[in-house]
Symmetry: C2
Subunit: 369 residues, 2 copies
């Protein structure tokens, strides 16, 4: 692990930077653009990040790390996800340049930079550090299913599909909860979340037996510092490929409250035209039932990802989903997460009883980390 915050970061997104095509880079920039000094994508060199994404104004796109050296970067962050475990040959020189110049490299690729002989030698010579964030923790253990002995309130974002806003909703809920005086912590379980929060485990890369175990460990760690533990979800319980990760996370986190994340007008799992999406009511029932195998949980609200819709269209979609499910709903980018935080707080009050909750809220700020 390696602290990413308040460092001068160059994001590497060669050949793919854009609002849809580079989820890892764009998610990172949404929350950490203040740390970013440049983005590498030679196709877009000379343009401004803000013009491409709608946020991150003033950050230049450059053709290579060389062109960004004038900003004296401290970290090169690989902002691209690949489906293979091979490193594109053309990227090798950029990573080698960083390591030879004493710039730390953070990567969520399946390819491991730290164990590559050339990179390891450069790192040893310059003192540059390498953080392969996909590398599972050295110590792995199965869970004990004892999170109900913690005082913390465990919230988990679950989804109807991949890329429907589970990470963004978890972060927005955490931040909105803090603004309302709750001592909330975000637990990252995937690549972009780790880049943004600077910690976490990519549960999709852990040997399958340990999905729930690493999740439980992260919740316990977060609960030492927070009253609300907001755990980022992955995939979907109905996803053909990733449902195992989804259920391992759900059973490892033992949430008491769930927020269902969904994308407006999605009919099939993205990239799986033969896998239709389940009705929201069915998903809500299934998530609650499966969660209940470890401890009772309730879906308290729906977070709707309306993409590039304007505010008015988004509002009407959110209203439709509210009617359909009978639950509070919002688009956290357009309308914030307060609605969800209020629903969560009400659920938490129901679990604790009014008096205890009131005393916890007064105590919270002192424990904030």
């Amino acid at each position: 692990m390696l602290c990413l915050k308040e460092k001068r970061v160059v994001v590497f997104a060669e050949g793919c930077f854009g609002p849809v095509t580079s989820k890892v880079a764009t998610s990172y920039l949404r929350y950490r653009h203040k740390d970013c000094v440049a983005v590498v994508d030679s196709r877009l060199a000379g343009q401004d990040v803000g013009a491409v994404l709608g946020y991150g104004h003033g950050i230049p796109l450059v053709d290579s790390l060389e062109s960004a050296l004038r900003f004296e970067p401290q970290i090169l962050l690989i902002g691209v996800g690949l489906f293979s475990n091979e490193l594109p040959e053309s990227w090798r020189g950029q990573i080698a340049l960083a390591l030879s110049r004493g710039i730390d490299v953070v990567s969520g690729l399946h390819f491991r930079i730290a164990t590559d002989p050339e990179f390891a030698a450069l790192s040893a010579a310059s003192g540059s550090r390498i953080w392969d964030t996909k590398e599972p923790p050295a110590t792995l253990a199965t869970n004990a299913a004892r999170l109900d002995e913690l005082d913390g309130f465990v919230v988990h974002t679950v989804g109807s599909d991949c890329r429907v806003g589970k990470k963004t909703s978890a972060i927005e809920i955490t931040e909105a909860a803090r603004r309302k005086g709750f001592n909330a912590g975000f637990v990252a379980t995937g690549q972009s979340g780790i880049y943004i929060s600077g910690r976490g485990v990519a549960v999709d890369a852990v040997p399958a037996d340990f999905i729930a175990g690493v999740t439980e460990s992260m919740v316990i760690e977060s609960a030492a510092h927070h009253d609300w533990i907001v755990v980022e979800g992955q995939g979907s319980i109905s996803h053909p490929a990733y449902s195992g990760v989804t259920l391992g996370l759900l059973h490892g986190a033992m949430p008491q409250a769930l927020v269902l994340c969904h994308e407006a007008d999605l009919s099939h799992h993205k990239g799986w035209p033969n896998a239709p999406l389940r009705p929201l009511a069915e998903l809500i029932a299934v998530y609650e039932q499966l969660a209940s195998f470890q401890r009772p949980a309730k879906v308290v609200g729906v977070s709707v990802h309306c993409g590039h819709m304007n505010r008015e269209d988004a509002a009407s979609v959110v209203e439709r989903i509210r009617d359909e499910t009978g639950l509070p709903a919002t688009d956290v980018i357009h309308f914030g997460a307060d609605t969800l935080v209020d629903a969560l707080a009400a659920h938490r009050r129901g679990l604790l009883g009014e008096r205890t909750e009131a005393s916890l809220r007064v105590a919270a700020p002192a424990r904030n980390h």
Copy 2:
């Protein structure tokens, strides 16, 4: 991979051989005792395997591999599972002896024998081969959820818990189906199943994103040679630690028929006193619903593991479960798997229509592998 069949095998179960304490060794011996020339457990040296297990009569227990060299073994098979990824120091000499004598080593430990420098050097010098069966396939890919385009009939054993007979039921169903003229193949997804069948992938050791993907690959491979593909299940959908593996398998295999495996009188998940078992009716409904996210599946029968009960007691437990679930039930060890095969065949006929099934059955023997 390395062929285990019709070789002279020494099973290593130092310090733990017994009907309950060494599941891997005893499962292997149930089906492959003809290949086994000796079992190493110094505590029991001089005894007979048959006297300890009730099967495997005539196989000697010996104090060390040295004492088994007179049988000219070709394979040393590690018959112990460990929860850690460290190799007990006292085992090192035994593995080194095998490799230096040209004896192949097959291991399902998390510790990798092939990448240990001492063992790798011995193996290179003698030509002994090493098969670390926990090592995931070099090529991993997510699934495509397209098994419904295959002609094969996919059967999957699912469980109420770990160690309730999912592997044994899958093997017994496969063998009983073959005796009835169906061209059935067994797909091993865990350690003991791989030892017994000589192939398969330990899905619990695969990076979590690929559980469904490796399962789909194995089903496709088996379907090239078989009409019935019987996929071994793992864990349980309600298990605190392993449910992710269970669901990944279920969605990767896309079964059309499920057999629920259960142990008589189990009240809680083994080793999880805080995790009560779910009622069978609820488990049946959940498995069918989750499977249906990929394609419709039906639980067609229950396989009840009655342990060391006598035949009469087992019969009454089986009858009780039959009444409780309204499904055909059996204990495959006491009463065989014919009941389940008949229920599966009936379900298959329903899917195909009578005429097609009849023509398939005539064609089957020629394709048997």
